[in-house]
Every structure is written in structure tokens, then in C-alpha cells.
Symmetry: C2
Subunit: 348 residues, 2 copies
């Protein structure tokens, strides 16, 4: 049998290889690297093909494809969201992604993205907090201590400079898990028994809870002035975390308004409520934080460009490493018109 040609082989990063790659680079280093790639892509936002994700909804959850392209490279992520999965011992969110060369249409990277999405989500939050949080912010309240909480904490430490996290979850076991995982990271960790307690003295308030119901994790009277709210968990229709009164008192920053107005915390506000696109702040085209007293809110739902940046980062980092293997994904006959001959010759 003929061996597949180089062009037929697509580098594949398995979950195990991704975890090895993360440890090889170091979690903090990788979060910083991802934040830099994401920021660079946000700064050239207008060069991207942008489209709301392509979603297939069912009673149990959603399966989405998130494609984008910068004209040279095409990327997409497959991701599901099934809140009930946890009860069956499955992940709520699993994902994988692909990069391809726009000129030929040939894939150049296939990778797991469950781990990678956890890192890119945290890197995005912290990159935005670096731009919007009050100067000298040192303490973050981390409300919701599920799968994303440690990544958020470490990203805020390595990218936005926080030194303390105050943890709260309705389930004390989740808080204990998060605190245990953060031991030895250099972060000072305080376990709290109420959300109110968690936000005491915090300049950054991160909400990342898993309820699929309209919930109010942050109520109006809990939030004073001069904070940055990093609202992660209000990320699909019917799922919100922040009281509309707080949203109205603050200035709201989003990734891609057509998507955030459907999926984000601002689904609770009028369709024309003013928002600022984060890329404009990063590119110097719109103001970010303008006073110490201001409440800034990053209503984050995740966007395809963040995945694209993460895929670019992985592609650039795996070269020369053992953290991938070539996958025989593409039929590539010697004569492109002779696919059948390739098939025939494989029989023997």
C-alpha cells in the first residue's frame, strides 16, 4: 500500500497531547500567550469574516459550529452545550476545532478544544480585565466554582495582576475543589459562604454559574461603584446572571453585538441599549474605563475569533514538538483526477 502523502496528513492534537503541551509551556505562560494572540486578532477585527454561530437546538441542549476566516486562514469550532450532561457524568461543554488554508481549502490542524476553550475563555476574560478593570485591582470574587473557575483565577493572576481570589458556589464541594486546585499557585484564596461575602473588597467580580434559568447571581444592592464585572455564565438564550439594574448603572462591553444581544446578560435589556465592542477599545477606537467610580461590565458569550486565535497559537507552538500526531484525514491521490485508482491500488 502507498503511504499517504504529506498533504494528506493533518496534525492532530489529542486531549493528552494538549495537556502535555500546556504543561510543557506552563499554564500561566500559555494563558499569557493566548491572551496576546486573542488581543492581536481583536485589534484586526475588521479583517475577519464574522457570522453568528450556526446552532442546532434540541430539548437537551445545543450543538454549534463557529466558523471564521481572516482571508488567509479559516477556522471553526464544534462545541456542544448540554447542562444536563453533568448529572450523567459527562461534560456540559466539549469541543474540537480545525484550521485550514484558505488558498487550498486543506485543513492544517485538528485539535481537541475542551481544554483549549477553557484556557481561551479565561485568557479572553483576563485580557479584557487588563484593559477595563480599575487600576491596581488585586482581588477577584469568583462566583461559580465549576470547570472554568481555576482557569479564570489563574488567567486573572498572570494577565491582570490579581493576587487574591474569593470563592463562592452554591455547592461547598465545588468551592473546596477550586480552593484545593489553586493551592500552590501563589494566589491567596478565601472560601466564602455567600455571594455577598465573596465580593467584599473585590475590584473584579467574575460570575460563571451553570444554571440554564434566568438567575440573578449579582443583585443591584450587592454591587458598588468602581468594579469590573466579568460576566461569563450569561451565555445562551434564557441564561443570565446579572441584575438588569446593574447593567444599566454600568458601561457594557461585548464581543459581537448581534450574538451577545441574543445570548448574553444584555438579553434582559432593550435591543438598542448602548454597548461598546471590546475590539474598539483595544484598537484605541473607543474609550474603555474613564473613571475610578465607573462600573465596567464585560458581557462575554465567547466568539469564533477567540477560538481562531487559540487554534493559531496551538498551530504555532506544536511545530517541532512531540505533542501531535499526523492524521490520515485527506485522500490525496498522485493524480487528483484518479481517486478511483487510489482506491483500487489500496486493495492489495
Amino acid at each position: 500500500m502507498q503511504e499517504p502523502s504529506d498533504k494528506a496528513l493533518v496534525p492532530f492534537v489529542s486531549v493528552d497531547h494538549m495537556m502535555q503541551l500546556i504543561h510543557h509551556i506552563g499554564v500561566a505562560n500559555m494563558l499569557r500567550g493566548l491572551a496576546d494572540y486573542i488581543e492581536a486578532d481583536f485589534k484586526r477585527w475588521e479583517r475577519f469574516d464574522k457570522t453568528p454561530r450556526v446552532a442546532s437546538h434540541s430539548a437537551e441542549g445545543v450543538i454549534e459550529l463557529m466558523p471564521t476566516s481572516d482571508g488567509e486562514t479559516y477556522g471553526f469550532k464544534y462545541v456542544n452545550g448540554h447542562p444536563k450532561n453533568t448529572a450523567d457524568g459527562l461534560q456540559t461543554v466539549t469541543a474540537f476545532g480545525l484550521l485550514a488554508d484558505v488558498e487550498t481549502g486543506y485543513p492544517v490542524l485538528l485539535t481537541e478544544m475542551t481544554m483549549l476553550t477553557a484556557l481561551r475563555t479565561a485568557a479572553t476574560s483576563a485580557m479584557v480585565a487588563r484593559a477595563l478593570a480599575p487600576k491596581g485591582a488585586a482581588t477577584m470574587a469568583m462566583i461559580g466554582n465549576g470547570a472554568q473557575s481555576e482557569f479564570q483565577s489563574l488567567a486573572m493572576q498572570s494577565i491582570a495582576g490579581i493576587t487574591h481570589v474569593r470563592l463562592y458556589d452554591t455547592d461547598p464541594a465545588a468551592t473546596a475543589k477550586c480552593a484545593a486546585n489553586l493551592a500552590g499557585t501563589g494566589l491567596a484564596v478565601t472560601r466564602c459562604t455567600t455571594a455577598e461575602e465573596a465580593i467584599v473588597g473585590a475590584q473584579i467580580l467574575t460570575t460563571c454559574t451553570a444554571d440554564k434559568a434566568l438567575a440573578t447571581i449579582l443583585t443591584d444592592n450587592m454591587v458598588g461603584s468602581g468594579v469590573h464585572i466579568n460576566a461569563i455564565g450569561g451565555d445562551c438564550p434564557g441564561k443570565t446572571e446579572t441584575a438588569p439594574e446593574i447593567l444599566k448603572r454600568g458601561d457594557i462591553f461585548v464581543e459581537y453585538p448581534p450574538q451577545t444581544r441574543i445570548e448574553g446578560d444584555i438579553q434582559q435589556l432593550a435591543d438598542d441599549h448602548p454597548v461598546t465592542e471590546v475590539w474598539q477599545v483595544l484598537a484605541g477606537q473607543a474609550p474603555g474605563r474613564t473613571s475610578d467610580k465607573q462600573i465596567t461590565i464585560f458581557d462575554s458569550v465567547g466568539f469564533a475569533i477567540e477560538d481562531f486565535s487559540a487554534l493559531r497559537y496551538v498551530r504555532d507552538r506544536i511545530t517541532g514538538t512531540p505533542f501531535f500526531h499526523p492524521l490520515d484525514l485527506l485522500a490525496d491521490p498522485d493524480d487528483p483526477r484518479d481517486l478511483f485508482g487510489m482506491l483500487t491500488r489500496a486493495n492489495g
Copy 2:
């Protein structure tokens, strides 16, 4: 290091495994099997989520995602179309696809689809010809002798009962390649030097040429009555093969009108030109061929449900075979909330 759990492992069919599977089943058997799966899914057409493909166009070509779901299973195909690739020794079309469980969102199959698309396209053509071609059709003109031509010929033999193919291509080397590949298949093969010669005595006329320009492969005076035209190559905006006069003389059958009106040969006709959806014929809801003199035209552009059927077929056939390997695609921690702990424990 912990081994990935069963749920984290997705069966992957490489190009090599796909070719072995095809030979294991037999090409003709597999074409018949695929036709049966596709016909079964066409007959339950209304149960599917249907959406035009999600395309990212560039100067050189297009990259598309083609998702669909029947409410229990979700599938999508990644496919590119880059006509200039052939000149660089690359495939015009490469593809891979995925099936997932709608209830959990977890992928259950990842497979190459360059080979599989070649088979499903041919199986679809022949399944439709079986329904629409004149009774007793024995001879097919195969105009365009590229990568799809042998698959079309074998599918028409094993599914629609033809015994003769008459080959023509602007490049005699392509015709010679196709004729050589069909030797020993039981088909009588005639090489022709003009398209006019190829259609002499043929009841089925298949056009599958690669030009991305508006071309007229079949002109009005070439086509008499009582034939079935299987128009494969008019499959993207600006790419057509059949003279509009023929289309107007015949009855036109399509997969999914919103897509075919943009991509198919009928892009040359008025937006409201009457067409019949093939699934309605197969389900007994619309007439197919109604007379021996009629010209029936299947203006085929390919649709996501055909890929879905092909993915289902492969999933059902690989069980218990060695023609796949488990791919470590999904992070699946013991505790779904402890993705970070899974990462930490991998470092050792």
C-alpha cells in the same frame, strides 16, 4: 497518567481505513447500501433540520460546513471546493465529517469523507436515476471523466442497471484513465471523441465536468426525448453545464430548492421556474417520470442529508471491524466540574 474514558474516545475512520472498509464490503455493495440509506433518509425528509450550507468564499474557492440533524443524530461535513487545486497536484474537493448524539452533544464518529463523498454522490445519482430514468435504460453517456466518473459508472451499473458507458472528456487522458479503471467491472466501455458521439443511444446522460465557468456541455440540439439527465457538475454559482433550452423542455428534480436555485444548473432559469423535490417522488407525494418521451433532469448539487446518510452507514458498518481507531478527541474528567484537576493530574 489516567487513560481516557470510553466517552472521551471517538471512533475515527482514516482514508486508509475507509478504503479498506470499501474493499471489505465491496464497491458495488457499498454503493447499493449507501443508496438505500440515502433513499430512506429522503423518505423522511420532513424530519430533518435543513439549512443551506455555511460557506466561506475566497478568490480561490470555498470552504463549507454542511450540518443537519434528524433530532436524534446530528451530522456535519467540512468540504472545500478549489478548482485551481488540480493544477498544483491537490484535490479540488476534500472532506471530512462527524456524527454526534443530539442528547449529549458528544461526537460518535469522525471520518474522512473525500472517498465517502465520491461514493455518496454516485449513490445519490443512481438512486435518483433508478426512480426517474426510462425503463430498461442500459446505456449511460459519461461526459467528464474526472475523479467522479468511475463512481458514477459503477453506481449506475449496480443500482440503476446500466450495462454500457460511453465516455467523453475534453482531455483524452482522462477518458483513458476512466476506461482503464472500469476494465474488469463488467461494464461495456466505449471511448468517444466528442460529447455528441458519447450520447448516441444513451438513455442516461451524466455531466460531471470541472470548469468553474458557465459552460454548455449539453446543447439544445444534442438532446432528444426520452432521456434522463444526471447533471452533477453544475454545482456552484457561475458553474453550469446544461443549456437552458433543455432545462425548459424537461422536468426538473432537485434536492433542496433554496440551495439548487443558487448553485445548480437552474441558476440559469427564473427563480420561480417549477421544480420537483426528489424526496417527494421517493415518498410517493409527487409524480416522477410520467412518459417514455419525457426528459427528466436531476439537477444535483449535493445536500447535507446525503452526507448524514453516508455517515450513518459508516457508523453502522464499522462496528466489530478493525477499520477505525479510537481518537482521544474529548476531555472527559471523572468529575465534570474538575477539568483543571484532570489537567493537573496529567502532569506526572
